[in-house]
């Protein structure tokens, strides 16, 4: 509807024409929105783990810990990014079924999905996923447990830094804890559409 385009733009111009001056873009230092006192002097991986815990997520520092946790939760059937599997496979016992392809017609079969994280934000406990590092968007989303394998060196200190590094990827998703709702009587329930458990595996 190109005529609507012209109509809207001309109404916008008409609406703004009487303004003697337009509000300027403020000059500001992004530092103002950084929780510096929280970050200063901290090991980023440690701070990240602490902040992720605060929003209901978990951090493991070894595949063995992760596998024990999955075992304890009885999450035995899952998906793993084929790139990660050679490293992780030795830690998974015979009672696990791990598929390297994700079949969306059996979406409810997968209790966990393991994919790579692109980066993380320490300040907020956020895991960053993007199209380039996520083998399948659905596999990082539909299973009850999502495990993001995160390289220590990729942790940003704060939100501002992560915004500056957004880059050209088509779909960047910041995940700050498990999926949540408080729609029913304000009671917090985790795992609405996305994962009910969000885990970071630090490597």
């Amino acid at each position: 509807m190109s005529d609507d385009r012209e109509a809207i733009l001309s109404r916008v111009r008409g609406a703004l024409a009487p303004l003697h001056e337009r509000a300027p873009l403020p000059v500001y230092d992004s530092e103002i929105a950084v929780m510096r006192s929280l970050i200063a002097g901290r090991d980023l991986a440690e701070l990240f783990a602490e902040r992720l815990k605060r929003v209901g997520g978990l951090t493991f520092t070894s595949p063995a810990e992760l596998v024990a946790h999955l075992q304890a939760g009885q999450w035995r059937h899952g998906y793993c990014d084929p790139v990660l599997w050679p490293v992780l496979a030795p830690h998974f016992g015979p009672d696990f079924t791990v598929e390297l392809t994700f079949d969306e017609t059996r979406v409810d079969d997968y209790a966990f999905g393991i994919t790579r994280a692109a980066a993380a934000i320490a300040e907020s406990g956020t895991i960053i996923l993007d199209d380039a590092s996520t083998s399948r968007r659905l596999a990082a989303l539909a299973p009850w447990v999502h495990v993001a394998v995160l390289a220590r060196g990729t942790i940003f200190s704060d939100v501002t830094q992560a915004v500056a590094a957004l880059g050209a990827d088509r779909n960047v998703v910041w995940c700050t804890g498990p999926s949540k709702t408080a729609d029913v009587e304000g009671i917090l329930i985790e795992g609405v559409h996305g994962p009910g458990a969000q885990i970071a595996l630090l490597v």
């Binding site: 509807m1 703004l16 929105a33 969306e104 659905l138 939100v159 088509r170 700050t176 009587e185 559409h193």
Partner: protein
């Protein structure tokens, strides 16, 4: 009519609903304040900056809109424009029909509610399903949201359990966790079966054409993982100048709306999916909607277009807490709605002219607003407009007699002397509607008129 429409709605609100709205808005508001002030040295400066950024974007929409259009196209999206709600609905229909699509899942789109998209698509054989848990419940109940961020703040678990039972989502069970699990199970298969995912946008960066979407539930992620066509329906006021401004706004949005450092999922969408990615839309359409926004831009209330729909002003508002959302008769309730809804009515302004009057002008909404919108000032401007357009104002007592007394000392003195009589007059029986409405809940104190004058006289001596 004895009351204004908003008062009539509020009067019929059951006490338990009023209590639950009050309690949950109050809790969210208190958490928000604690978070902002604990974490930042100067949270008020953040709000001012965010306001300045959005004001700048609005006052330069003539350059930003073409700029963002070019960026979106460069990112591989198709860009459409719609002057009205009907035009936008029509455009959505065309996009769907061109692909033989019949199933749509929606997420994070108050605009689709504003233009009643689902209702429009239904007779064309298209199902447009809400996926946010609260919005989904609203949809199956054929109800309306009563809060920007908490659409079903007015419903309790028993009502929801009954609706689920009626819709065949399982036997009656009012445990919130069970309700959520059932919705999870039902909706994931709907996403996977859908052809089109429709979303709104929280922000669009003019610098990069990036669309930003935030949700707590992950429904927008699912829409964009399971469907092959993405339609983003976006009001023209959502534009921000640069990516770096997003950092500031996102930090404020989560904290102001739901008292979270960040909303759980923040998605930055830069076009259709990348070629190497198996999941997600291969095709992306952006529809920019006006539907009255340019009228608001032309008005003396254009600041309201800065709104980032966080809901903080609803949570803090004493009127919203008492009246709840439906009293505002609009998709946008609360203080923001009291300004925006009448403005978006265009020629039918009078129908919602009561909303700006339902405020004590306490200023709490202005104080919490993450984009620093001077809502009380805007309410006054709208009251003025109602006066100028001679919109009738039921329930407001005539002020003529008062004006006469206040300007004539003799009349004033006479009134003071006669006032004593009021102690003996049954006020409830005076046939002035405004007075009756007022005295229905209140009693006059004993007359004490003239005390001040007496005191002044003695002081002089």
């Amino acid at each position: 009519m004895r009351f204004q429409p908003i008062d009539q709605f509020a009067a019929g609100l059951p006490a338990d609903k009023r209590a639950s709205v009050y309690q949950s808005t109050k809790t969210t508001h208190e958490k928000r304040t604690k978070l902002l002030f604990d974490q930042f040295t100067d949270p008020n400066r953040l709000r001012q900056l965010a306001g300045e950024i959005k004001q700048h974007a609005l006052e330069n929409l003539d350059t930003y809109l073409p700029k963002v259009e070019a960026k979106l196209k460069a990112n591989g999206a198709q860009v459409h424009w719609a002057s009205t709600g009907e035009a936008a609905c029509q455009k959505v229909l065309e996009i769907m029909q061109a692909r033989g699509a019949t199933k749509m899942v929606k997420s994070k789109t108050m605009v689709s509610e504003e233009i009643e998209l689902a209702k429009f698509l239904k007779p064309h054989g298209i199902e447009a399903l809400e996926t946010d848990l609260g919005e989904f419940i609203i949809q199956i109940d054929d109800d309306h949201p009563s809060h920007i961020v908490r659409p079903i703040i007015h419903k309790n678990r028993r009502e929801i359990a009954q609706s689920f039972e009626r819709e065949g989502l399982g036997a009656y069970n009012d445990d919130p966790e069970t309700i959520t699990r059932r919705a999870r199970h039902f909706l994931r298969h709907k996403y996977l079966a859908a052809d089109v995912g429709l979303t709104g946008a929280n922000f669009v960066s003019a610098e990069s054409g990036r669309i930003v979407l935030v949700t707590n539930e992950g429904n927008s992620r699912f829409c964009l993982a399971a469907t092959k066509v993405h339609i983003a329906l976006i009001g023209i006021e959502k534009i921000v100048p640069r990516d770096r401004d997003l950092g500031l706004l996102l930090n404020l949005l989560g904290r102001s709306g739901t008292a979270q450092d960040l909303t759980v999922y923040t998605e930055f969408i830069n076009g259709p999916k990348s070629t190497a990615q198996p999941d997600g839309p291969e095709e992306m359409h952006v529809i920019f909607l006006d539907n009255g926004r340019t009228d608001v831009l032309a008005s003396d209330c254009r600041e309201i277009l800065r709104c980032i729909r966080c809901g903080a002003c609803l949570n803090v508002c004493p009127v919203y807490r008492q009246a709840s959302g439906h009293a505002y008769r609009s998709v946008y309730p609360g203080p923001v709605g009291a300004v925006l809804s009448p403005l978006l009515m265009g020629g039918k302004f009078a129908q919602k002219a009561d909303l700006p009057k339902a405020s004590s002008l306490c200023g709490a909404c202005h104080e919490v607003c993450p984009v620093n919108i001077p809502i009380p000032d805007l309410l006054l401007r709208l009251r003025n407009r109602a006066k100028e357009e001679n919109v009738p104002s039921p329930g407001t007592p005539p002020m003529g007699a008062w004006a006469l007394m206040a300007s004539q000392p003799t009349a004033w003195k006479a009134a003071l002397l006669g006032g004593k009589l009021l102690d003996y007059v049954p006020t409830k029986l005076i046939p002035v509607p405004a007075l009756q409405a007022w005295s229905a809940q209140r009693a006059l104190p004993a007359w004490r008129g003239g005390e001040f004058r007496k005191w002044m006289k003695q002081r002089k001596r």
